[in-house]
């Protein structure tokens, strides 16, 4: 207890020292706790995002003999269920189109019977072309292509048991997103990653029940459509019932916990509750759980990434503790000398110092963790509230306190060990190294940089790679090895910077002359001081440089990431705004309706299914005069020609057409060839329109998923008599979100208006749905604080070590302005060296971070985006922080008691 009491006295009687040492630890713990909470909040975002993408949360598969209507009513009464939608599925063995004397046949597929409200409730099976009429089918694009069928044709389906029936085609259905509900529901097939069928015909459920079901014998078994292509896995021999009667469920997502694991537990409880109430009438296949399975993994990797992004900040904040120990070494020496005079042995002094350091670090870490929790809750409170709030908060506090206490104690302990040596051995004012530290002699800085380049070359730099789970859910895999290169680069550049800064300050090349010219006598004094205290000055330069590099790298990363999201969104949406008329509208009135103060330019756009031979393709009808002003057209979108050249051809040649490379290859089309394409007229009848091939389009605004063609909208309208457009694309005059709101108000609620923001949110998948801007803001704020604290501590350490020197200067006639200029000169050197090198290292780190996430961008960003405004703000904030730090130091100089300081020995 004797030693503990003295350790406590050291903490309490030297409050300036305790506060200074604790400040860095507080910052480190606060940053770490905030980042950990950000990780937890991200879990909530990921869960919500993953569930929002699921069209059907669960499928209740009826047992043989049970009544689906009764099941639907029973299920709908569960408090978690917001919609219970009956769906009847009948497998067919073949589909045949007998037309113009020749028959085309496909293999197995599904007839899916849904009610009218199904598409509205789930977003699945919308009609892409034509209509859906009772008793008629809307075919999937694949089935239409395989058969060469168009609306108006009749297709004969052979059902299990051998009976067949003929159904008329009324339209084309979009089955995108329907893989899970169309695929097999048994665990064996799902586990094997079986592909869903592509030959699908959608029909109204009443017609299916009346016309199709009676033709299928009870107990009939279908040929398994999924065994033909199961992601390379072995075929599953489980028999498939020919008739599958299901109820598709939508849950109230507001009730789902934010934590992905808790959300899975909740979904499992709902499943068990519903199954229990049904007493075996049906079993539940949980699609939402399947969507959440990759989220837990994504979250774990995401948290690793977030911590990695914050690691420099945490390390820096701890390094500030070392500067603090330097700054307050006089207080420590005084106390040690006192204890020594009272007979304390060296081992006892060491223990007192250790206990005092750990004590300060521990208490500061707790304070920091609490601060971090407060910041985290203020910033991500809404997400945290649904993501295990107590557990995530307690975890953040415990982990940050434990890690930062250990780091802070080690950092401050190194200085204290040196001070103890000094106190016992010589009592010198400053420990001068006679030889460079070991890492400099071994050139570990250069070795780390070389290793970083090698590792980067070997791993390819990309840490995150998108893959698809057996259920088809996108997830990311993250190779921890890919963090090695940035880590080595960061470590190497830090050490190299330390070496170079120390050498530069020691030699003072140009420093003395420059500072004297700028600051007069104060500058000369500052140059001498910086040269004499080169190791401490170099540490301050490095701390500031790394703080700036941390902030600038995350700013660059965030700007590039955001820009890439906009590029993706623009490509998908086609422009800033997309407006879909409520009723078929011609190009001119539609564009006129959209044009207004919030719209800079509008262009009509047609997306129509046409037939190249028997193959259904998307024809994109555009206005080449206005589209380039609305949509981003990259040269990379076109093969062997620039975007402007491709558009020029369309402008000058009305019947020009751009085809996809697959189409050019499959049909052996070359430039100038004539193409006869069947295009629907105003009545849906196909009309042959002649085009001339004018180029190959690889990608195009609105990002068509299937094979596509690009032609003049006006030419198509003239040739078919069908001038209806699909939608209008527009460029907003200002903020797209505000423009979308104003436009929506102007055109009325019947018109669908979408903006980039809508698409960005929808495109976000897994880890990319996390709002990295929040993390960036927090890291930049901490970096600025670290920069301010680091510089202030360096200057205060400088004052501590030079009290007599400064007192002498005042005594021989240095005016307060001279002292202020000397401080300003030191700050300028540290500030300029730290900020400039920080911006360079930050740029390189930003690029390295970008490489880590390159896998989730499609297309990946080629160059980092430099956020000049953000960087200017950062430099402004750092400058302000340095001015404040200098003001604190100037205050200390002004308060310096000259006579007392001159008397000190």
């Amino acid at each position: 207890m004797f030693l503990e009491r003295h350790a406590l006295r050291l903490i309490m009687r030297e409050p300036r020292r305790s506060l200074a040492v604790g400040a860095g630890v507080i910052l480190a713990a606060a940053l770490m706790a905030t980042v950990l909470l950000f990780g937890s909040a991200s879990g909530s975002t990921l869960t919500r995002r993953a569930l929002a993408d699921v069209p059907v949360d669960a499928q209740a598969v009826s047992s043989v003999g049970s009544d689906p209507q009764v099941a639907a009513a029973q299920i709908a009464s569960d408090p978690a269920v917001t919609a219970a939608l009956p769906v009847d599925i009948v497998h067919f063995a073949t589909a045949v189109l007998d037309k113009a004397g020749s028959a085309t046949q496909t293999s197995v597929g599904l007839l899916v019977g849904i009610d009218d409200n199904y598409a509205q409730q789930t977003g699945l099976f919308t009609t892409a072309e034509g209509t859906r009429s009772p008793g008629k089918i809307a075919m999937s694009r694949d089935l239409a292509t395989n058969l060469g069928a168009i609306p108006g044709d009749s297709v004969t389906f052979t059902l299990p048991g051998g009976r067949s029936l003929k159904l008329e085609v009324s339209g084309i259905a979009d089955i995108t997103g329907g893989d899970l509900v169309l695929g097999p529901t048994d665990a064996a097939h799902r586990a094997s990653g079986a592909n869903p069928p592509t030959n699908v015909a959608i029909i109204d459920r009443a017609s299916l029940d009346q016309q199709v079901l009676p033709l299928v014998p009870a107990g009939a078994v279908a040929q398994d459509p999924a065994t033909t292509g199961g992601s390379g896995s072995a075929p599953v021999s489980t028999p498939i019932a020919a008739v599958d009667r299901q109820v598709h469920l939508r849950y109230d997502l507001a009730q789902v916990p934010g934590d992905p694991v808790a959300a899975q537990t909740w979904l499992d409880q709902v499943r068990r509750r519903i199954e229990r109430s049904a007493a075996g009438a049906f079993s539940i296949v949980d699609d939402a759980i399947a969507a959440l399975e990759p989220v837990a993994g994504d979250l774990l990797w995401g948290q690793v990434l977030f911590l990695f992004l914050a690691l420099p900040g945490i390390a820096l904040a701890v390094a500030v503790s070392r500067l603090a120990a330097d700054a307050t070494s006089d207080a420590t020496r005084r106390h040690l000398a006192l204890l020594r005079a009272r007979g304390a042995r060296r081992s006892q002094l060491a223990r007192i110092l250790l206990e005092a350091t750990v004590g300060i670090s521990f208490v500061s870490a707790i304070v920091g963790a609490v601060l971090g929790v407060a910041v985290g809750w203020l910033r991500f409170g809404a997400e945290l509230a649904s993501a295990d709030p107590v557990g995530s908060t307690v975890r953040a506090v415990i982990v940050s306190v434990a890690v930062v206490t250990a780091l802070g104690a080690v950092a401050a302990g190194v200085v204290l060990r040196d001070q103890l040596r000094e106190e016992v051995a010589t009592g010198r004012q400053e420990l001068q190294r006679t030889t460079p530290p070991l890492w400099q002699r071994l050139f570990l800085d250069v070795a780390a940089l070389v290793a970083a380049v090698l590792v980067f070359a070997i791993t390819g730099g990309t840490a995150l790679k998108p893959i698809f789970t057996a259920e088809g859910n996108a997830t990311v895999t993250l190779a921890l090895t890919s963090f090695v290169a940035p880590f080595l680069f960061w470590t190497g550049s830090t050490l190299l910077l330390l070496r170079l800064a120390m050498r530069w300050l020691q030699r003072g090349t140009g420093l003395r002359r420059g500072l004297e010219r700028l600051f007069g006598g104060g500058g000369l004094v500052a140059a001498g001081s910086l040269s004499a205290r080169a190791p401490a000055g170099a540490r301050a330069v490095v701390v500031l440089s790394l703080a700036v590099s941390l902030a600038s790298s995350v700013l660059i990363f965030d700007a590039t990431y955001g820009a890439q999201q906009v590029v993706d969104a623009e490509l998908t949406l086609g422009g800033d705004l997309k407006v879909v008329p409520s009723t078929p509208t011609a190009a001119l009135p539609a564009v006129q309706a959209v044009s207004g103060p919030e719209v800079a330019l509008a262009t009509p756009f047609v997306d129509r299914i046409v037939y190249v031979g028997s193959e259904a393709q998307d024809l994109l009808g555009i206005d080449p005069n206005t589209l380039p002003g609305v949509a981003h057209l990259s040269d990379s979108f076109f093969d062997h020609q620039s975007a402007s050249a491709a558009i020029d051809v369309l402008t000058s040649q009305p019947d020009a057409i751009l085809v996809s490379s697959e189409t050019a290859h499959d049909y052996s089309i070359v430039m100038g060839d004539t193409l006869n394409i069947r295009v629907p007229d105003a009545n849906g009848n196909l009309t042959v329109v002649q085009f001339h091939m004018a180029g190959i389009a690889l990608e195009f605004p609105t990002a068509p998923k299937d094979a596509f063609l690009v032609a003049n909208q006006s030419y198509v309208a003239q040739q078919t008599g069908n001038d209806r457009i699909s939608f209008v694309l527009a460029r907003s005059s200002g903020d797209p979100v505000a423009a979308a709101a104003a436009l929506q108000q102007r055109v009325g609620q019947d018109w669908a208006v979408a903006s980039l923001a809508t698409v960005t949110a929808r495109l976000a998948n897994g880890i990319t749905s996390v709002d990295l801007a929040a993390l960036v803001q927090i890291e930049v704020a901490f970096a600025v604080l670290i920069a301010a604290l680091g510089t202030a501590l360096f200057l205060l350490a400088s004052l501590t070590e030079r009290r007599r020197e400064l007192a002498t200067l005042k005594a021989i006639g240095a005016e307060p302005a001279h002292m202020r200029r000397a401080m300003a000169a030191e700050t300028l050197v540290i500030g300029l060296a730290g900020t400039l090198t920080g911006l360079v290292v930050g740029g390189l780190l930003g690029f390295a971070f970008l490489q880590i996430l390159a896998g989730v961008f499609d297309p990946p960003a080629e160059f980092p985006v430099v956020p000049f405004l953000g960087l200017a703000g950062l430099i402004g904030a750092v400058t302000l922080a340095l001015v404040l730090a200098t003001a604190i130091a100037n205050g200390a100089v002004a308060r310096l008691q000259v006579v007392a300081a001159l008397r000190e020995r």
Binding site: E516, G520, G521, L524, V525, G528, S529, S531, A532, R533, R804, E805, A807, T808, L809, K810, A811, I812, G813, A814, E815, P816, A817, H818, V898, V899, L902, R903, R905
Partner: protein, 228 residues
């Protein structure tokens, strides 16, 4: 003779929260005439250094008046007092008061540098001052390469470089061996007299004080004409 410095009823006390004030200088009256060599002798803790600080305008008196070279110290700003010290006074300290990060000549030239004297001019004047104290040839020496005696001679050179009319020395020989102490003291006296500058020396050493034209004794903050 004209007084270059005078103190009239000067009192200075140090106050710390929760503690009784410590009166370092109590009701001091003294005059220093032009060209006079005055020694103030007293034991450690008698208030000598505080009194010297008051005479140099480094601190202000709580009570009484200090006139420095015709100026009332209490009516001057800290900047004005600093300028006066730099232009017309020279200070020599027991612990030399040198800036370790500067070369020898830069230390000597420091008052001129602070006055924005042209580099060539100040180097020439500093070199002359160094030569005057016998340190010619050591212009670019580092402070930690010099002996104690050399360092104090350098301190004297710095005090002389501005052509002061008043030189204040705070135990200038306190850190030196006897031989060096006598050398430095003789140097101070010789150069002060050569320039007709007044020299005020505070010291606990009777031998050093004995060289002065006039001696005052100090104990517990009070000054007397005779030993107290």
């Amino acid at each position: 003779m004209d007084a270059v410095l005078s103190c009239s009823g000067v009192t200075r006390a140090y106050r710390r929260p929760g503690m009784e004030p410590v009166v370092a200088v109590r009701d001091v009256h003294l005059r220093v005439e032009a060209g006079e060599f005055l020694a103030i002798q007293g034991p450690s803790g008698s208030g000598k250094t505080t009194l010297l600080g008051l005479m140099a305008g480094l601190e202000l008196a709580d009570e009484g008046d200090v006139w420095m070279l015709g100026h009332d110290a209490s009516r001057m700003s800290s900047t004005e007092r600093a300028r006066l010290r730099r232009s017309r006074m020279g200070l020599v300290f027991q612990s030399f008061g040198l800036v370790a990060s500067l070369t020898a000549i830069d230390n000597v030239a420091l008052p001129l540098t602070l006055s924005d004297v042209e580099p060539a001019d100040r180097r020439s004047r500093a070199a002359n001052a160094m030569a005057e104290v016998g340190l010619d040839g050591m212009e670019d020496a580092r402070i930690d390469e010099m002996s104690g005696g050399q360092r104090q001679r350098l301190g004297v050179a710095r005090a002389l470089v501005g052509e002061p009319v008043l030189i204040l020395g705070d135990e200038p020989t306190g850190s030196l061996d006897d031989e060096s102490a006598q050398t430095v003291l003789a140097l101070l006296e010789r150069t002060a007299r050569a320039r007709h500058a007044s020299l005020v020396l505070v010291t606990h050493d009777p031998v050093s004080a004995a060289r002065a034209d006039r001696r005052l004794w100090m104990r517990d903050g009070r000054v007397a004409e005779k030993p107290i």
